[in-house]
């Protein structure tokens, strides 16, 4: 008897013999998520954008807003200069980012050990929590979100969702990526005497460049 058989038969011996069909179990599971508003936080502002900004800033994310994708390189330059950093960064190899005009900035797709910043793109934002979502893929190396001290993320205002459940619904509609990551503020730790310190292993600074909707 394998461990798998031992475990499953121990479970079956302990549970009632009469068991619902898989469809009935699934229906029961879905019913547990009905009326989500009764048990989830309300948004802190009327609109998704305002709520997202309030929550993101409350957890230490800083925000810049631009009118279109073409303004992203300038916003990056502003951020790096503002922090006294060299104008050098790793840019995620996504066409939407690499196609921009990076004149005057030293960009590459890999992060050198001494390079302080990387730029990536979030698929969605979540107004409930100020989170951003990154999926791994051919043009989305996961390490670019974790290795730099300064993580800069481009997010379209129109991609801000209301609650965590809305993201779960989006995820369920497509093939699951290797990594689906919710990023909620810069890396931090409270492991020494409960006192909060930023930049534990991941980025100590999280910057969002919000791109206005063009429609």
């Amino acid at each position: 008897m394998t461990a798998r058989d031992r475990i499953l038969s121990a479970i079956r011996a302990a549970l009632p013999q009469e068991r619902p069909a898989p469809d009935a179990i699934s229906a029961e599971a879905n019913a547990l998520l009905a009326d989500p508003d009764t048990s989830r936080p309300r948004l802190v502002a009327e609109g998704l954008l305002d709520a997202f900004i309030l929550k993101a800033e409350a957890i230490g994310t800083t925000i810049d807003r631009v009118g279109g994708m073409e303004a992203v390189p300038d916003a990056v330059r502003r951020y790096l200069s503002g922090h006294g950093l060299s104008l050098s960064l790793a840019v995620e190899p996504a066409p939407a980012l690499t196609a921009l005009d990076w004149t005057g900035l030293d960009t590459g797709t890999t992060l050198a050990p001494d390079q302080p910043a990387a730029l990536g793109k979030a698929l969605w934002g979540i107004a409930e929590s100020g989170s951003m979502i990154v999926h791994s893929g051919a043009d989305t190396p996961i390490l670019l979100s974790f290795l730099p001290l300064h993580h800069i993320v481009v997010l379209q205002e129109s991609d801000i969702l209301s609650h965590l459940e809305d993201y779960a619904a989006q995820l369920a509609e497509r093939p699951h990526p290797r990594n689906a990551i919710l990023i909620t503020g810069p890396s931090g730790t409270t492991d020494i005497e409960g006192s909060y310190v930023r930049g534990a292993h991941g980025p100590g600074f999280l910057r969002v460049i919000l791109v206005a909707s063009t429609d």
Partner: protein, 477 residues
């Protein structure tokens, strides 16, 4: 756990005594649990729907436990389809053997590990050491206790028993270059520098899992530091260890429970990094491990399905019960002697290590009910601890003197006349030991009087006084 059965029993009282005498420990415990309690209260107050969310969280966990076999098989199918290899382990030894074999087959020299209490439960750190594999703990607290050669003293803050000064001492010896100051920010930077090369040079990354998502086959890690993703992305192999009770039906169910977990654990709303790991690197992916192994561990969990401890399978390991426990806050986590300390640990340790060796743990509880009040999935922890006390009595595990004492009390308690007589004699006799209103020393009661005085009783029993008062009332016109 591989701890010998008797160790918890033999020395719980001694460990608790030592902990009580350690003033530095008390300072360290107060700093972290005090902050945790205050922050949780703020987070819950800011979420008026918390009670409804708790009821939903409880219902989700109960649903999963009632269909555990169905969900485990569904998870296995989907994880396998994503390219992961699913392993099953009945107990700690099987789990250790599976993981060690994967490491040895891969000729791994360096393994990074992202904090997992299950890994501690199955004795993974020792197993890797025995196999000659270098293990680097990447969670900051786990890094601290690895340097100190200690076990975790809390399930969320494993190094909470150490003050910043004590951490600085460890880092000065282990870090090259040593941190320049002993404030937390400088020490965190030092650990960041020290561990960076380890992350990138590891052959295998091992993580735990907060949720196993049945309908996608994904495993979920939550961290604030970002160490889980740095542990699981660069190495060639990612190994996940998870208890079978971690399963949830869908991502939406996991996220619903996450709201409860984070608020209850740290008082935050969401962890900084919540990651669903679904299989190894895909063709074309920019990074990620080439192999992913998921080890599903039973280790006593199926035994809890049909006994009085079933509700404990709802536990999502937030640590709120220990942060709010008057006993934990006096003695800290190491005194408990098991992998899991505090109230939830006092329920689980007898399951894992046997009741004979750990019967003192369910007794180290005042039954004040704080743990159940703050539990995000409404586990009636005091009721479960009482269930262990009942079992301990039925299995005759108490020392003879205690059984005789309780036996005498039981004889009296069932005979009101005799009980009244004994009370009348007792209160008068007790007064003989009292000086100035307090009893400082009493034969057979040193366990009480060694630490606190007993008020000298009134000269008459409650019933005597009550009757006298009733008679007095009745005599009035």
């Amino acid at each position: 756990m591989s701890a010998p059965e008797a160790s918890v029993q033999v020395s719980f009282k001694n460990r608790a005594k030592t902990a009580l005498a350690d003033r530095t420990l008390k300072i360290a415990i107060d700093r972290t649990t005090g902050t945790a309690e205050a922050k949780r209260a703020v987070a819950v107050a800011a979420f008026p729907e918390f009670q409804a969310a708790r009821a939903r969280g409880r219902a989700i966990k109960d649903h999963v436990i009632a269909h555990l076999d169905h969900y485990l098989e569904q998870f296995e199918r989907n994880a396998t389809a994503s390219g992961a290899t699913v392993h099953w382990a009945s107990d700690d030894a099987e789990a250790r053997a599976i993981i060690t074999r994967i490491c040895l087959d891969a000729k791994a020299k360096l393994v990074t590990r992202s904090k997992s209490m299950l890994g501690e439960e199955i004795g993974l750190p020792h197993a890797l050491a025995d196999a000659g594999i270098e293990r680097v703990e990447t969670d900051l607290a786990e890094h601290i206790i690895q340097l100190a050669g200690e076990a975790p003293s809390h399930i969320v803050w494993p190094a909470m028993h150490r003050t910043r000064e004590q951490v600085a001492e460890l880092f000065k010896i282990a870090h090259h270059p040593p941190p320049s100051a002993d404030d937390p920010a400088t020490m965190v930077q030092s650990a960041r520098r020290e561990l960076r090369a380890k992350f990138l040079g590891a052959d295998i990354g091992i993580s735990g899992s907060n949720f196993l998502v049945a309908d996608t086959g994904a495993t979920c890690t939550v961290t604030n530091e970002g160490n889980a993703e740095l542990t699981t992305t660069p190495p060639r192999i990612h190994i996940v260890t998870a208890g079978i009770e971690k399963i949830v039906p869908t991502t939406a169910h996991a996220l619903s429970l996450l709201r409860l977990l984070v608020r209850s654990a740290t008082g935050g709303e969401l962890t900084q990094y919540t990651t669903f790991h679904c299989g190894p690197k895909r063709p074309g992916d920019a990074d990620g491990p080439e192999e992913m192994h998921i080890v599903l561990v039973d280790n006593g969990r199926t035994r809890m399905l049909d006994n009085e401890f079933r509700e404990m399978l709802r536990c999502i390991r937030c640590g709120a019960c220990m942060n709010h426990c008057v006993v934990y806050r006096q003695i800290g986590g190491h005194a408990y002697g098991g992998t899991y300390p505090g109230p939830m640990g006092s329920v689980l340790t007898p399951v894992l290590n046997g009741l004979a060796g750990s019967r003192d743990l369910p007794n180290a509880c005042t039954m004040n009910g704080r743990c159940a009040e703050v539990c995000p999935v409404e586990i009636p922890i005091p009721t479960l601890l009482r269930a262990w006390r009942i079992r301990s009595w039925r299995e005759k595990l108490e020392p003879g003197s205690l059984r005789v004492g309780i036996g005498i009390w039981a004889v009296l308690a069932r005979r009101p006349g005799l009980y009244g007589l004994a009370s009348r004699v007792g209160v008068r006799a007790l007064r003989l030991f009292g000086k100035g209103g307090w009893i400082a020393r009493l034969p057979l009661a040193g366990g009480w009087t060694a630490h606190r005085d007993l008020p000298r009783p009134a000269g008459r029993t409650f019933m005597e006084q009550y009757r006298a008062q009733q008679a007095h009332k009745g005599s009035r016109p």
